[in-house]
């Protein structure tokens, strides 16, 4: 029997190598209100304290709680608090590889698992856009 790994909750990850400094990439994602500029399909958002409400292109309003904005390790973490989710944690990590070489990792852990897949699918386009914006910054 092939040994199985433990998958009690859906946990997905996408990543992107970006030709920009880690600080530049981090600058794209670190502000909660910036998400409509780099997440395709999120057309607007409101931010009050640590609560962000995003509106998608299909008209869905999804509330989120900002959990972590840590510039020292360049990590942004948030939870979707919509009742459809029994659990969600989204984490964006920006990791320095070299001077103009970074890795941006967008992780989605959620229950129900199908919803994890839907959010994670969206993060693929988000990473592309983060890359585009970061690499457009000179210097």
């Amino acid at each position: 029997m092939v040994p199985r790994e433990v998958v009690n909750v859906a946990s997905l990850r996408h990543e992107r190598r970006i030709a920009a400094t880690a600080d530049v990439v981090w600058d794209v994602v670190r502000r909660p209100e910036s998400i409509p500029t780099w997440f395709p399909g999120i057309v607007s958002c409101t931010v009050e304290g640590d609560v962000r409400v995003i509106t998608t292109a299909t008209g869905m309003e999804i509330p989120e709680k900002i959990m972590t904005i840590d510039s020292t390790i360049r990590r942004f973490a948030y939870r979707v608090t919509a009742p459809l989710y029994t659990f969600h944690l989204g984490v964006i990590d920006v990791i320095e590889i070299g001077q103009f070489d970074s890795l941006c990792v967008y992780s989605t852990t959620a229950e129900p698992d199908t919803l994890a897949l839907l959010i994670a699918g969206g993060t693929v386009g988000a990473l592309e856009e983060i890359q585009r914006l970061a690499e457009a910054v000179k210097g």
Partner: protein, 524 residues
């Protein structure tokens, strides 16, 4: 003028559901007549046994490992080849009416053109900001979408919401609150994905697809060729046809399928002789893919549930046959009756009780892999009726459409034009078809490759989280048409197995450019 093309697909329809193919439950006189006038294929295989990869193969003429939409939820690349684009460029008016599903249906961020178009309520997209490189979406200059039930932003759902909102609650809810395929039971037997639907027949999606097709055809000019893909969402689950129609096939009178073992011990013995994931799914220990309800355990399926599902499926098949009949009459009324090639098939099959299972997954047997395929060439060409027993594949459709249009097969097409007789099939070496399965579903990876010849069905399970690469299945189709006796390890068939393995290896290493495999973006 050339030959017009009516391409009719259904979703999840078995070979043996048509009268002309020996089906006993449904009356399908329209399709039976088309078969009698043209070419009926006895062993047509899909490139994949789920919707998105299979439909993408119809459009691109490529295997999933080439076009890159390798499982449901992986979008076909927007710049993938499209036979509709070639036909459009050749001057054809091109339409797709019904279920497309080249892109994920679940789309909260509105990322995909199919959903966005329907959400905007527009059928024509000659706009720069919509895939402007082609001018039209995937080569179709007219699109109206439907899927199973009344879901999402698609055109059929908009129609129902605008005109018959009170009837929507009568449909089965295909997915549950967690967006998994719903396991809730209904009907008389509590079978999953079954419901008595009070919707009037004329509002049901089968008739809607036919109505919209007729409307589009009526708008076409006499001096222009057209290619119309009429794509019915049925008889895919849910099994919720209009209640007014279900008396056509009383489920209590439906015989059990020939491949449904009534005793649990027989079922389990058959499953145990196959690769391990069969039995693990049956027992509810593994859900390897999204396409069956995650919370439903196949071993709970009862004989009566199998009867009821098959009865409702048969009703849906009859409604489709009648809808096709209406469309063909409208074509006659336009005076085009002799000038239209009609091709009918389905994207994949349905287990429908075979081995005690329902729905679909990585199970490469006839229930999922043997498809109805009928090609009635334009009567003006005086087609010679025939039956082709050689294995053919849906991957051949794109080249066939272009051949009908008098155009050569493009370099990207991996399938050759369908043969019109067994003699032609032999002369052109139609001796094997290939079906692929790749899935990655929350830590469970399954990879399957199958070759079907006139005599054998041979499957290899590649290494993944369920299989270590040593398992497989080999069925001798002549002796074992129901694929019950797995002879993968039979020493008497060692040389046969080696030859078939070589054919599979040849498929894996075939020449040609492959698209980068797409990324899984949604469950479906």
């Amino acid at each position: 003028m050339g030959r017009r093309i009516l391409f009719i697909t259904t979703d999840q329809q078995r070979y043996d559901t048509l009268g002309v193919n020996g089906g006993q439950l449904s009356r399908t006189p329209v399709l039976d007549k088309l078969a009698a006038q043209g070419i009926r294929y006895e062993r047509c295989q899909p490139t994949s046994v789920v919707c998105m990869p299979s439909r993408s193969s119809m459009l691109t003429g490529q295997f999933p490992s080439t076009h890159g939409a390798w499982m449901n939820g992986v979008p076909l690349a927007i710049d993938a080849p499209s036979v509709a684009e070639n036909l459009h460029d050749a001057g054809y008016a091109t339409a797709l009416i019904g279920k497309a599903h080249f892109e994920p249906f679940m789309d909260p961020f509105g990322l995909y053109a199919e959903n966005a178009l329907a959400n905007l309520g527009i059928p024509t997209i000659e706009q720069d900001w919509f895939d402007g490189r082609r001018g039209v979406h995937r080569g179709f200059d007219y699109l109206e979408f439907a899927t199973h039930g009344v879901m999402g932003p698609l055109h059929y759902a908009k129609y129902m919401n605008e005109h018959h909102a009170d009837a929507i609650s009568g449909f089965y809810q295909v997915v549950d609150h967690s967006l998994n395929v719903n396991a809730a039971g209904g009907g008389d037997t509590g079978a999953p994905q079954v419901k008595f639907n009070p919707v009037p027949r004329e509002w049901y999606h089968t008739d809607w697809v036919a109505d919209r097709t007729i409307r589009w055809l009526e708008e076409q000019r006499d001096d222009r060729d057209w290619f119309c893909w009429m794509s019915f969402p049925d008889p895919h689950h849910p099994w919720d046809p209009p209640k007014s129609e279900i008396a056509r096939v009383p489920w209590r009178e439906v015989p059990l399928p020939v491949n449904y073992p009534e005793s649990a011990s027989e079922r389990e013995a058959l499953l145990d002789a196959k690769a391990r994931h069969w039995r693990e799914w049956y027992d509810g220990r593994v859900v390897s893919n999204y396409e069956a309800p995650a919370k439903w355990v196949p071993s709970t399926l009862t004989s009566d549930q199998v009867r009821e599902v098959n009865a409702l499926n048969a009703v849906e098949v009859e409604l489709i046959d009648e809808a096709i009949g209406r469309v063909l009459k409208s074509i006659e009324a336009k005076g085009w009756g002799d000038d239209v090639d009609v091709i009918f098939t389905s994207d994949h099959g349905e287990l429908q009780g075979d081995f005690g299972l329902l729905f679909k997954g990585p199970y490469h047997v006839d229930g999922l892999m043997r498809l109805p395929l009928i090609w009635r060439p334009a009567l003006s060409t005086k087609p010679e009726p025939s039956v082709v027993r050689a294995p053919v594949s849906l991957v051949s459709l794109a080249a066939t459409f272009l051949d009908v249009a008098g155009k050569p097969a493009p370099s990207w097409a991996e399938g050759a034009v369908l043969p019109s007789s067994d003699d032609e099939a032999k002369a052109r070496s139609f001796d094997a078809t290939f079906t692929e399965w790749d899935s990655s579903f929350f830590g469970i990876d399954v990879h399957v490759r199958t070759v079907v010849t006139e005599d054998y069905l041979y499957t290899e399970y590649l290494p993944g989280t369920m299989h270590d690469g040593s398992e497989g299945e080999l069925y001798v189709l002549g002796d074992d048409p129901l694929q019950r006796v797995n002879r993968f390890d039979d020493p008497a068939l060692a040389s046969v197995r080696a030859t078939l393995a070589e054919q599979l290896a040849g498929h894996e290493h075939r020449p040609g450019e492959r698209a980068t495999p797409g990324i899984l973006m949604a469950p479906v």
